[in-house]
């Protein structure tokens, strides 16, 4: 009884969302994310990253810490699913879980290595604005001897947690880049998702 009423409510809400996208923009009650919360979340992320890049630790230690920050503050499910694109639809639940997990490590290694170039630098939150149904928090790097650049974190509430679901460096989105990359990797493996997952575990 309870079940059937929740199912019909779900159908009703989905129908509403499909017809009027305005509803999607409206705050979803008490859990709605505020600009202030989005901005503090990103402030925590950049403080963690700054602390890692200036820690003077070994690369493997830094990569481990990056992976933990990524898992804690990023919506890795959304990022991974978006990168898998339409191929996510034909994946089984266990494949999806395995993919998200392999993807987390791959991203942390691939981008964590690049963050090493920023040793001695700083990242500061500049401002936050609402874009569509999420918040875009802009940060700027202060690097030794190189021009500052802009890093945008896109933050949105999902399942009761406020997390960032994309990061853009000078307008280049991690998700869009990795969607292209994952798509090409899947193509070159003849669409074999299991092979992709096992290769991702050591890639990056």
């Amino acid at each position: 009884m309870v079940n059937s009423s929740s199912i019909s409510r779900r159908g009703f809400t989905t129908g509403l969302l499909a017809t009027t996208s305005v509803v999607a923009l409206a705050p979803t009650g008490a859990m709605a994310l505020t600009a202030q919360q989005a901005s503090s979340l990103v402030a925590e992320v950049v403080a963690e990253i700054t602390s890692i890049i200036n820690s003077g630790q070994s690369e493997s230690r830094m990569l481990n810490r990056f992976e933990r920050v990524f898992k804690r503050y990023a919506n890795t499910t959304v990022i991974a699913f978006r990168c898998l694109g339409a191929d996510a639809r034909r994946a089984s639940n266990s494949q999806k879980r395995a993919f998200v997990q392999a993807f987390e490590g791959y991203i942390a290694r691939k981008y964590g290595r690049r963050f090493r170039e920023f040793i001695g630098g700083r990242i500061d939150v500049q401002n936050v604005r609402q874009v569509k149904s999420w918040f875009e928090v802009n940060a700027r790097t202060q690097l030794q001897g190189s021009a500052p650049f802009s890093v945008d974190f896109l933050v949105k509430e999902g399942g009761g947690r406020n997390l960032f679901f994309d990061m853009l460096i000078e307008g280049i989105s991690l998700t869009r880049v990795e969607r292209e990359e994952i798509g090409a990797m899947l193509d070159s493996r003849g669409g074999d998702l299991d092979r992709l997952i096992s290769d991702l575990r050591s890639a990056g």
């Binding site: 929740s6 409510r9 779900r10 809400t13 989905t14 969302l17 996208s21 999607a24 499910t77 959304v78 699913f81 978006r82 690049r114 170039e117 874009v131 569509k132 149904s133 999420w134 001897g145 190189s146 949105k156 999902g158 399942g159 679901f165 853009l168 000078e170 307008g171 280049i172 989105s173 869009r176 880049v177 292209e180 990359e181 090409a184 990797m185 193509d187 070159s188």
Partner: protein, 246 residues
């Protein structure tokens, strides 16, 4: 030459549709573009990368930066022309003052007192952006030999910009060689500066052609201030709804 450029511009522009700026890509000539890409990668591997490496190792970082700044400075009068064509009077004023200050106090643009002491950062723009502001669509994606990724609209912009810089008309030989020479050196310097990123793109990505196209289009749309596309917004909202919807 100018007549030729105009003809080319008109031909290309009629091909640029009014739609186009958004997400994804329009690349009906992918086969040709992929061949050009293979050529460009070979040029990079055999010529450009080694040359930039020698340049980077041979000159100090400060010297390279100075040359890069001088190249940007030489480009400023052309940017002012485009600011004006876009009716961006503030940008035109800022770039003009920047040019005056850096050409004098900054020793021909080698230094950047305008940015450091007057808060006049460079407002980059080009004729491709002017066309965007005028309402022309980005057109098809195209990879140009030696130059790299572009769109039809950006390609027209690049050709026209060969003629929009008043400095090109104001200077006589051999001073008129300063600007193009510095532009080439600045490009070589950038290849060295961003070597890790460019190497990763060209030599480590699974499909460097597709990734170069993807990166270029994202970067260019960001530069022009193109809004997030409706398709991408819908895709994000639909995924959140699917995962977390009540």
């Amino acid at each position: 030459m100018k007549f030729f450029a105009t003809l080319m511009a008109v031909g290309f522009l009629s091909a640029c549709s009014q739609q186009g700026d958004g997400s994804g890509h329009r690349d009906p000539n992918e086969d040709v573009n992929r061949r050009t890409h293979a050529f460009n990668v070979a040029v990079d591997r055999n010529l450009y990368a080694p040359a930039s490496n020698a340049y980077g190792k041979g000159l100090s970082r400060n010297t390279r930066r100075g040359i890069g700044r001088a190249a940007s400075n030489f480009a400023l009068p052309g940017r002012v022309v485009n600011n004006l064509l876009q009716l961006d009077l503030e940008g035109a004023a800022r770039n003009s003052f920047r040019f005056l200050i850096n050409s004098t106090l900054g020793f021909g643009g080698l230094g950047d007192p305008a940015g450091n002491d007057f808060g006049l950062e460079e407002e980059t723009t080009d004729f491709g952006e002017t066309l965007y502001k005028w309402g022309f669509g980005e057109g098809r994606y195209v990879e140009l030999p030696f130059v790299g990724p572009s769109t039809e609209r950006h390609t027209v912009g690049r050709v026209v910009d060969l003629f929009t810089n008043p400095l090109g008309y104001a200077l006589d030989a051999p001073e008129n060689l300063l600007s193009p020479t510095s532009q080439v050196l600045a490009k070589v310097g950038s290849r060295y500066e961003y070597a890790a990123t460019i190497d990763a793109l060209l030599y480590e990505s699974e499909d460097s052609y597709a990734q170069a196209r993807n990166l270029y289009l994202q970067q260019r749309r960001y530069e022009l201030g193109v809004d997030v596309s409706v398709e991408e917004t819908d895709e994000i909202d639909a995924l959140f709804e699917e995962l977390y919807g009540e």
